[in-house]
Amino acid sequence: MATNPPKAENEIHIAIRDLTMAYGSLVIQRDLNFDINHGDIFVIMGGSGCGKSTLLKHMLGLITPTSGDICYNGKSFVNASPQQRDTMRQTWGITYQSGGLFSAMTLAENIALPLQLYTPYSTAEIADILAYKLALVGLAGYQDYYPVEISGGMRKRAALARAIALDPEILFFDEPSAGLDPISSRLLDDLIVELQESLGATVVMVTHELPSIFDIATNSVYLDSDSRTMIGYGNPTYLRDHSDQAVVRQFLARGIAAQAKDAHP
């Protein structure tokens, strides 16, 4: 909630502890350990197929980890009861890769749904609030449209409006700018930063869009698909210039860094 006193900088919001993820006997990533602080814009990055989206699904509780724990504000999510998990989830806003909007509902109904479920607002108030949420993402007046009637970029923003319906403490994004043109992608990035600053939320996103990563991320983790664990953790600009792992420098410089480093050791 916007009026809450802002949490002290560097206070841990989400903690990943010894997390191992596997599908059956196929290990995706092992021994992940990192913290996400309050107010961070945290990026999970890595090459295709390294398990970025899988990690996000673990954090959302859609998949149970093989071992290890994920803690929100110091409380274990993995060991929480289904009811406790639902309570924790109410403070989250999530946008999925292809939006995840309910196609049989209008944008207004999509955004009203969490408000009806979890807030004491009356129907008239919900109409006001959802008009405001749509205005925030630049979709004022699109209440009665169905998701199929608007463009892909607008769907992403509508999904964001639904994600922020409950003024979440944590915003999760799975590839927010995938499939968007550079301008829309930039606008979405700006919007994420504006919302993060004004809501004071923590943002966790999976992406490999380098411009986004350098523009908005305050902290990041790099998952490696060969060693199946994390090999980089820190501010992306710092990692690009100073990571001790050539793969990470290479990734962040679109394949140029490693050669540059080799040329001038």
């Binding site: 916007a2 607002y121 004022a140």
Partner: protein, 378 residues
């Protein structure tokens, strides 16, 4: 300003020269009574206010409730050409308001609303029939062309798809067909037995069951089960492919979706339905035999009597019907799927349409075939 009451309040305080301030006090958060925006409108209506400035000194706390209210104020004052000033909003709220008002409100172009009455209006329904008919004929024509290309060996239809759909429409349907056909055989036998017992002619139950099952019920019940099972599946599969742009991909690869997707499905159902119908006929007669046994007819008597009433023409009529029914079910299912819209709701609609049209076609075709054979004396 007394803040004894924590509920959200606002007040328009007039100042000199067309200026006024909008004083906000209390907790503007969820769970509080709603601040009535229409009162602000009536306060401002007819006034000479040109500049409205928000005063948030008495504001205790805020969330989206306040933002929704401020957005309404912003939109209203803009319409009325009143300058809306927010000099001392909390930093976060100021930023949010700027983001929310950055893009102008979109007005949707008017489209005619469809009411329930319209949906029930027979004239409206009848008006859609010619287009539906044209579309169906066009589809059947395309299927015909694709079949022609298949015969001449120019088609992109894949044998592996055909086999896959044969498996889906044949062996996988065995259990449900077994259950329904045994029960339908029993129902037929009971129905006849009650009447025939009055004349002491129970033995003719066998004739009734054999003729009823072979000519009519075997094919019809199999067709109805397959319409719900396979026809709906075809519509849902093709509708989902439409949604995922798979059909677009096939078309742009230069492959006809009719040849690639529709023909193997139709042929598979046409190949499997007569076999399923023979199987259903057999089990229907067995089901009738169970009831006959319960009435004191021995199995041997039943089989003898059944054999005497068994003519090839009965089996032929049933099999002919099953081929016609299979064609109709497959065409109804594939047509609905190919013409489906591109949302999850549209796929559901396509599946419903497939089953409903298939069953209507089945009953119409059954009636037509029965009348025809009556006249021909077969």
């Amino acid at each position: 300003m007394p803040i004894n009451d924590e509920s959200p309040r606002f007040e328009v305080v007039p100042q000199e020269q067309g200026k006024a301030s909008l004083v906000l006090t209390g907790n503007w958060t969820q769970g509080q009574p709603r601040a009535d925006f229409s009162r602000l409108r009536s306060d401002l209506y007819g006034s000479t206010v040109q500049h409205l400035s928000v005063d948030t000194a008495g504001l205790v706390s805020w969330d989206s409730t306040l933002m929704a209210f401020l957005l309404q104020c912003h939109n209203y004052t803009q319409d009325e050409n009143i300058e809306f000033l927010t000099p001392d909003l909390p930093a976060g709220a100021d930023k949010l308001l700027r983001v929310a008002t950055a893009v102008k409100t979109h007005t949707r172009p008017e489209s005619p609303a469809i009411t329930w009455i319209d949906a029930l209006n027979p004239a409206q329904l009848i008006a859609t029939v010619p287009a539906y008919f044209r579309e169906s004929l066009a589809f059947i024509g395309e299927v015909g062309i694709a079949l022609g290309r298949l015969v001449t060996g120019k088609s992109n239809t894949r044998m592996s798809d055909f086999k896959h759909f044969c498996y889906q429409a044949g062996p996988q349907a065995f259990a449900i067909i077994s259950l329904t056909s045994v029960l339908v055989g029993m129902i037929l036998a009971y129905l006849g037995a009650v009447q025939l017992q009055q004349f002491g002619a129970e033995i003719y139950v066998a004739d009734l069951v054999v003729i009823g099952t072979l000519r009519e019920m075997g094919a019809l019940m199999t067709a109805i089960v397959m319409a719900g099972r396979t026809g709906a599946a075809y519509a849902a599969q093709l509708g989902t492919m439409q949604t995922n742009e798979e059909i677009d991909a096939i078309t742009t690869m230069g492959i006809s979706p009719i040849e690639f997707l529709v023909v193997p499905r139709i042929l598979a159902l046409i190949a499997m339905m007569p076999l399923l119908t023979i199987y259903a006929d057999l089990l229907g007669v067995v089901g009738g035999g169970i009831v006959a046994g319960g009435m004191g007819i021995t199995p041997l008597q039943y089989i003898n009597q059944a054999e005497s009433s068994l003519h090839f023409s009965h089996l032929f009529v049933g099999l002919l019907k099953s081929v016609v029914f299979a064609t109709l079910i497959a065409i109804a299912g594939c047509r609905s799927g190919i013409n489906s819209g591109r949302s999850s709701a549209a796929v559901g609609q396509a599946a419903t349409e497939a089953v409903v049209t298939a069953i209507v076609y089945l009953i119409l075709a059954d009636a037509a075939i029965n009348i025809l054979f009556q006249q021909l004396g077969i």
